[in-house]
């Protein structure tokens, strides 16, 4: 019974049925199904949406819509989850680099990271390099993720590395850059650990880092 309703929740997210999923979540909680299991069902749904996005069966509008449904449902779940805080797979500080005001790419990877169980600290857009490092220090982050769409802003990522070295955190914190203007050669050029222009590739690299940590 509980397995059925959890499967329905997962499928509801995949088919973007906002009202239906909301009803199902409320009814699952009323029936005494564990909030963590409900969360897992939602996460599985979002993960499937991510896979469909990667296969180009789904487009950004669907990924955003699934993310919006998830955001609202997390608010419903939050009070139930306070007592059962699941351990995150890792902490990541995320933001679009100084001078760049694009947030779509950053929000895609954010949705995928949340759906994979990461704790994400989103600094927004136009983020000064030192702010990435300050936040990483404050929350004891494992990873810094830097987004850049513009060819003019990618070089500023090198500054983040300098601040990390200055804070003696370079060995502890991995750095990944992503965005349309990002190229593989930027790994060496700017001293980062990974460079991608595909969100799914970024997610897989981050997962692999945390598995071997």
């Amino acid at each position: 019974m509980s397995k059925d309703i959890l499967n329905e929740i997962t499928n509801g997210i995949v088919h973007l049925e906002y009202e239906n999923v909301k009803k199902l979540v409320n009814s699952a909680l009323e029936k005494g199904i564990k909030p963590l299991d409900v969360l897992e069902a939602l996460r599985r749904g979002l993960e499937k949406v991510g896979e469909k996005f990667e296969k180009q069966e789904y487009f950004l509008s669907e990924l955003i819509m699934a993310g919006e449904i998830m955001k609202d449902l997390l608010n419903i779940l939050k009070p139930y989850l306070l007592s059962e805080n699941p351990k995150a797979k890792g902490k990541i500080v995320l933001g679009t680099i100084l001078g760049d005001l694009h947030d779509i790419g950053k929000d895609i990877i954010k949705t995928l990271l949340i759906s994979s169980g990461f704790e994400v600290y989103d600094l927004g857009i136009d983020v000064p390099p030192e702010q990435f490092v300050e936040k990483a220090k404050e929350v004891d982050a494992d990873i810094i993720g830097i987004s850049a769409l513009l060819s003019t802003t990618v070089p500023t990522t090198a500054e983040v590395i300098k601040y990390l070295e200055k804070a003696k955190l370079r060995k502890k914190v991995k750095v990944i850059i992503g965005g349309a203007a990002v190229r593989k050669e930027h790994i060496k050029k700017y001293g980062v650990d990974a460079a991608v222009n595909d969100a799914m590739e970024g997610l897989n690299i981050i997962k692999a880092w945390m598995e071997t940590k």
């Binding site: 819509m65 919006e68 005001l101």
Partner: protein, 360 residues
């Protein structure tokens, strides 16, 4: 051959004297180009580079312009500087300048607070909106191919007014709101297009960014449901008067190219080589659509050498220019990280090697 004839022949898939050229530049680059070429006026830069098209814009009303200033990043857009530091345009949309001052970001959308029924669109008949466009069309019409911008046609104007994530959500949850908003925008665009058509422009530039690097922002299903039929209505107004249709969307939009052709688009811009292979698009649709742009603004122009630029231009001419159907230029307004020598190389190589019949 006059630039206008050159462009029209290319759009009709005939071979003119050479591949027609286009290009737009950020204000800082125009300044650099003027200094480099030893000229004083923007127009002289376009002439020296061999650019065959000229674009006109709709402007805010005179009344709004009295209290506003042109945005330095996009001089065709005017804004009021608010006491809170934000910039506000005639539609009530607010922007903030990034920390570096190079780009702007949308931060406030009037339909977040106001109901659509209470929101008033700018008065399209207000004085000052089309006077400069009219003057420029008269000046250029017998020499250059004149294009009129009706960009941010539907999708972009809709999300500027209602917020990006919010509008996407409404597309799935509240089609009745979406239909009302899009119809209101469509009626405004209809009148805008009619004014430009009456002036005698050759090309109407439609534009809505619906592509990303490797996928589309909007699902083709959603695009076909809400946007395609309205685009068709707008295109018909211009087509009836023999005006060519140009459509701009950055990024990857391959799934909707056949739809765009079906509703009457003649010119596809910018065909970013990182997102869609121009040679492949030419092979598949080149007899029905003209490619505009195609030279990489993400990679080759900012980071490549002059030789890289030359090779890309030659490659594009070889694969996309035969039998017309190519208007060459950068795939976006040239940004500040592009070396001047790469800009000059693009246009010099294209003028020299783009002569028909193509022999590369």
């Amino acid at each position: 051959m006059k630039p206008r004839e050159r462009v029209i022949k290319a759009i009709l898939h005939e071979e003119p004297d050479r591949v027609p050229l286009d290009g737009q530049f950020r204000t800082e680059q125009l300044f650099n180009l003027k200094r480099h070429l030893g000229v004083n006026e923007d127009e002289e830069v376009l002439i020296k580079l061999g650019i065959d098209l000229r674009t006109v814009f709709m402007e805010p009303s005179n009344e709004f312009k009295k209290k506003a200033i042109p945005l330095k990043q996009y001089p065709e857009r005017w804004v009021i500087k608010r006491p809170d530091g934000l910039l506000e345009d005639e539609w009530g949309i607010r922007y903030s300048e990034g920390a570096t001052g190079i780009y702007i970001h949308w931060v406030y959308h009037p339909l977040q607070e106001k109901d659509l029924s209470e929101y008033e669109f700018p008065d399209i008949d207000a004085e000052g909106r089309f006077e400069n466009a009219e003057k420029n069309v008269k000046k250029w019409m017998n020499i250059y191919a004149t294009t009129a911008s009706v960009e941010m046609t539907l999708f972009e104007q809709a999300w500027y007014l209602s917020g990006y994530r919010n509008f996407i959500k409404q597309l799935y949850e509240n089609p009745s709101f979406v239909n009302k908003l899009l119809d209101k925008i469509r009626l405004f665009r209809e009148r805008q297009i009619k004014r430009f058509v009456e002036m005698g422009v050759d090309i109407i530039k439609f534009g809505d960014d619906v592509g990303m690097q490797t996928n589309m922002m909007l699902s083709p299903y959603i695009w076909r449901k809400f946007f395609k039929p309205r685009m068709q209505q707008l295109i018909n107004i211009a087509k009836k008067r023999g005006v060519f249709i140009y459509y701009h969307s950055d990024g990857y939009i391959e799934p909707i190219i056949p739809d765009l052709i079906e509703i009457g688009v003649d010119i596809l811009d910018p065909v970013q080589p990182e997102c869609m292979d121009p040679a492949k698009i030419k092979k598949m649709y080149g007899d029905r659509i003209t490619l505009h742009g195609t030279i990489s603004i993400q990679e080759t122009l900012p980071f490549g050498s002059s030789d890289d630029v030359k090779n890309e231009v030659l490659n594009r001419i070889r694969t996309c220019a035969p039998e017309g159907g190519l208007i060459l230029g950068p795939t976006h307004k040239i940004q500040i990280d592009v070396p001047i020598k790469n800009i000059i190389t693009l246009y010099e190589v294209a003028k020299k090697s783009g002569k028909y019949p193509i022999r590369i």
